[in-house]
């Protein structure tokens, strides 16, 4: 074996090791540690350990569950991932896109009373862009909740 071909062989071997490493990272499911937020099911599955530790929680705002107290800037709603549902309490005005049925991510702590106290509420927009259906105005969709605040 000539030195050149041996060198190429070693290089190819190195490249294969690196590629296998990347493949393992991507498809070995190890990257699942890197979640930006937990779902309500995952949080509840932690049981008592979930209490009082700072986490991000993501899901959908359950339609019909939003209670907004404009005086106290106090917002309560139920957050669902389809199987489990949690009560979220948030202070401060939500982003203007906040509405029932939209995806949100909240940062905060889950308290023993069964309420998730959020210090930061973020709206997760889907990758869909659609104009409103005939007869509805976009403002009606996201301002029904906070209409009087924002005019």
């Amino acid at each position: 074996m000539t030195p050149g071909s041996r060198r190429r062989l070693v290089l190819a071997g190195g490249a294969i090791v690196v590629l296998c490493g990347f493949g393992f990272l991507l498809y070995g499911g190890i990257g699942e540690n890197l979640v930006y937020f937990l779902t309500p099911s995952e949080l509840l599955a932690r049981g008592e350990r979930a209490y009082d530790t700072p986490v991000r929680l993501g899901g959908q705002v359950l339609p019909g569950s939003v209670r907004w107290d404009a005086e106290a800037l106090d917002l309560r709603f139920r957050l669902t991932d389809g199987t489990q549902t949690l009560v979220v309490r948030s202070t401060g005005a939500p982003p203007q896109m906040f509405r029932e049925g939209i995806g949100v991510v909240v940062e905060g702590r889950y308290r023993e009373g069964g309420v998730f106290e959020s210090t930061n509420l973020m709206v997760k927009h889907s990758n869909e862009y659609r104009p409103p259906a005939p007869g509805e105005r976009p403002q009606d969709l996201y301002r029904t909740l906070l209409g009087e605040e924002r005019s």
């Binding site: 991507l26 930006y36 982003p95 906040f98 939209i102 930061n120 709206v123 104009p131 976009p138």
Partner: protein, 239 residues
């Protein structure tokens, strides 16, 4: 100049014409996007920020692709022009990546509710930005052209591979940033504006890279002249 990718003799005026065309295309595409797209169901008019944020991101990706190609070609062929091309594209990529992040921040504030969050897409993009700064800093600190080219090619390949991670981050990990849109998720009312703006940004990208490449070539000529002068002076002293 033998083996020149862009002849050094092209007058600056030709680049100016390309620049004017690119910026005019951008004006046209933006006006069309702004006037012709209806408010989005969720975002209202804020959807229009898409026409600058997304094309900026796409053209930044393309610029990193040029960095990758230039760096690999340099290590393979060892011709200076590939190194200069990679360097030119890297600076443009830095500008566009920074713009993308800033525009995303402006878009994120009213839609998500925050200027910044530690979401994988945002974080990997910020890392990419810092890597690009490192690449350019390395270039500016090494004086010997051959060494500079070799080292920055190695660093440039690593940095530009990170683009894949940025692009796929929204699919690999659960993120706040939405996954890539596709024609099936974007209403035709918005797709046309997005495509035209992307095209205009592509022209701007080509204009920037060509201009910066020419500057890189001229810089090398100036360096070579200075070296030759020093050499001549040294010989005079010896005589």
């Amino acid at each position: 100049m033998p083996g020149s990718f862009v002849p050094a003799v092209v007058s600056r005026r030709r680049y100016q014409i390309l620049g004017i065309i690119a910026l005019a295309a951008l004006v046209g595409a933006e006006l069309l996007g702004l006037s012709a797209s209806p408010p989005d169901r969720d975002m209202g008019h804020l959807q229009k920020i898409m026409y600058v944020h997304v094309p900026a991101a796409w053209s930044a990706f393309l610029a990193f692709f040029v960095v990758f190609i230039g760096s690999v070609l340099y290590l393979w062929k060892r011709e200076e022009r590939y190194d200069l091309l990679a360097a030119a594209a890297a600076e443009v990529a830095l500008v566009l990546t920074a713009l993308t992040l800033a525009l995303g921040s402006i878009w994120g504030r009213p839609t998500w509710g925050v200027w910044w969050t530690w979401d994988p897409r945002l974080t990997t993009t910020a890392i990419l930005l810092v890597m690009t700064v490192g690449y350019l800093a390395l270039r500016s600190f090494v004086d010997e052209p051959d060494r500079r080219a070799r080292w920055s090619a190695a660093v440039g390949i690593l940095a530009s591979l990170n683009v894949l991670v940025v692009y796929k981050s929204v699919q690999w990990w659960r993120t706040l940033h939405q996954v890539q849109s596709s024609p099936s998720t974007v209403d035709p009312a918005y797709a046309l504006g997005l495509r035209l703006n992307a095209l205009a940004f592509l022209l701007v990208l080509v204009y920037f890279i060509l201009l910066r490449y020419r500057a890189a070539r001229l810089e090398r000529l100036v360096e070579a002249q200075a070296e030759a002068r020093e050499l001549a002076q040294g010989e005079e002293l010896h005589v």
